[in-house]
Amino acid sequence: MVSFGDPGMVLKAFFPTCCAAADSGLLVGRWVPEQSSAVVLAVVHFPFIPSQVKEFLAQVQQTSQVGVAVLGTWCHRRQEPEDNLGHFLEGLSAIFSHEPWLQLCREKGSTFWSCKATRWQGSTSPGAPSEDQVMIVFYDQRKVLLSQLHPPAILPDQETGDAAAGAVGLAAVFHTVARSEVLFRSDRFDEGPVRLSHWQSDGVEASILVELAKWASGPICLLLASLLSLVSAVSACWLFKLWPLPFIWSKLSTCEQLRYRLEQLTLIFSPQKAENPSQRMRKANMCVSVLLDVALGLTLLSWLHGKGRIEQLADALVPVADRVAEELQHLLQWLMGAPAGLKMNRALDQVLGRFFLYHIHLWISYIHLMSPFIERIVWHVGLSACLGLTVSLSILSDIIALLTFHIYCFYVYGARLYCLKICGLSSLWRLFRGKKWNVLRQRVDSCSYDLDQLFIGTLLFTILVFLLPTTALYYLVFTLLRLLVITVQGLIHLLVDLINSLPLYALGLRLCRPYRLAAGVKFRVLEQEAGRPLRLLMQINPLSYGRVVHTYRLPRYGCHPTHSWGSLCRKLFFGELIYPWRQREDKQD
């Protein structure tokens, strides 16, 4: 039943620092034969009845599924050496048989410990005990118990089975300590048949408020979850699925953000408990990011409602829109003359300019029609800040999109015209070389044209070439304006994404309790003395901030600019329309 490790390996005794001051007794822990390491979990003090200790360990083993056993003896000499105690401790190995049998001894006034590991079987001459080389590794029991190793060594689906066997290396040590939490549950005021020394909390502290909050959280969660399900049922109602509405919803970033917020709240208030640590962490991160978002939103709200800032804002909005339209008119008039000394095609220039001017005129009248309602609209938008800063930022982004609708229209007209010219020019250029685009085979074929065809083609080519600069200029100016608007919207989206996806709880945990998120361990060699076993201190190596963000980042929502710079430039050159929301539609498909 007792398996022994590789006899060539150095025996590693993992000893909790909190037990260093304990009285003499028995070492209780787990023996990991694959790595020949003994993980000491606690010290059982004298006096004890061996059968009671065995019974207690069997109980612990049953609940924690960790093979807890008596590993050896611990002797802490406070007074002058007592020889009878040494003999007594050796005699204990006959009662609790373990292979190998550890004998740790701390002498008075010395920082160096002596440690012996004896094994009777497996030695070269049967009968005579052989001794192993031993190194003592000290660990902080509380930190190892609370820390969570990254990346997780055990897959979540393995957790239920005999998971302790699945963990390898130092993960086995972490796992052993984490699983034997049952052993640590008793605090120092407990009076049981077996007196143990291990990491202990200083008794359970209780606050009436915390207890009340715990007691109330269940019903409140249920109530809020049912309210949220009602809201999502209303939003799924058929009235909102009539034809143009889903199309509009998908274009508005406010709707996306509201949907995401609803999802977040549903997850936070879901009555079922999070099963594994990563889910728990996700929930906590989401909760903190929602709280921060709402707090920022409320700050914004209080700032807006103080000193009549809403009226000021509403009063400023119409003149700004007017001013933008005016500037655009000036720009168009400049383009209709001789912009930057370029000589344009006068007729086309005038036609295009008048067309755009008429558009601006329409836009201004639309804004003035709206102006009496703007204050009320702004007031309601300000109220939305209590749902969170991200929601109001999304609304701001939508308002910018609506107020710059004329720029978008100009851009589309310019791009379409430009695209038409570029296509015409490229196909006529093929005509010159005696080639044509074969639609059926999707390739360029050679073709012999008639004289008339060539004549007409040349004529059209010439016209298009001479008209191209005028169109290209309009296209260039409006594309630049459009790109400016897209950049502003993109920055707002970036901010919203940042608030939505930053794992604030994990970052706070890393800042205040670095041992909770462990990337691994590090060892420090403690002071040495010749002839004594090697002593190491095992510390927890915290996860770096970059890895914390990478591991716990919440999934992103909203549109991301997935254009690469090359494809963006290509699209701009050929006059294809660039939509910021195109990618989102693709993602939904």
């Binding site: 590789d6 060539g8 390996m9 590693k12 290396g169 130092l170 060892f523 040495q528 090697l534 190596n541």
Partner: protein
């Protein structure tokens, strides 16, 4: 047991190798590079400030001068905290693992610990670095799925870049410990790599890109 020896790095700078033998199963190698010299600090600072002063005489805006001071301070802090590595330590513990620590000039320490059952071997490798071929010590990690394959190569003493004579010293000591670990599990005939023979330098199978 502790001894110190002086070596040079690939550019000819001085390096001090400290060896600490705590026990037969635990050794530590500590490579310390020279500290930030006052001369280079003075040269860089005065160059930046002179350039800023030149710019100031041209555009007559005092923002330039304060910006130069801030840039120098922030640059120095960043350099000490993120770039300048004073000491690199390799701690090898039998049947436990290998630990690499780099201590920055500001006191920050970054540590990586590799467990022994993930380590396949420690070798000296050749790499092309800028315009020259250099040797470096590296740890080969086992692939968790196929134990005979190598999943990753972890270079050691990345910032100090010591020369081959220094690497051989470290390599031999590491091989002694690794051989001690392997010895009981495998038959003695299978051990061709005796620690006293010259280190096997694996031909440049991995070529690191010049920085």
């Amino acid at each position: 047991m502790e001894n110190e020896q002086s070596f040079s790095d690939i550019c000819g700078g001085r390096l001090a190798l400290q060896r600490r033998y705590y026990s037969p199963s635990c050794r530590e190698f500590c490579l310390s590079s020279p500290r930030l010299s006052l001369r280079s600090l003075t040269v860089v600072t005065s160059t930046v400030w002179l350039a800023a002063y030149g710019l100031f005489t041209v555009c007559e805006n005092s923002v330039v001068l304060s910006a130069a001071i801030f840039i120098t301070l922030l640059g120095l802090l960043g350099y000490l905290h993120f770039v300048k590595i004073d000491q690199e330590t390799l701690l090898i513990i039998d049947s436990l693992g290998i630990q690499m620590t780099s201590s920055y000039a500001s006191g920050k320490e970054s540590t990586t610990f590799i467990e022994m059952d993930k380590v396949k071997d420690v070798i000296i490798n050749e790499a092309i670095y800028m315009q020259k071929v250099i040797y470096y010590l590296c740890i080969l990690l086992k692939d968790p799925v196929e134990p005979h394959e190598i999943s990753q190569v972890v270079p050691v003493f990345q910032s100090a870049k010591p020369r081959l004579d220094c690497l051989i010293e470290v390599y031999r000591s590491c091989q002694e410990i690794l051989a001690h670990q392997k010895a009981p599990s495998t038959s003695p005939q299978a051990h061709q790599k005796a620690p006293s023979t010259s280190p096997s330098i694996q031909k440049a199978s991995i070529v690191s890109r010049g920085k």
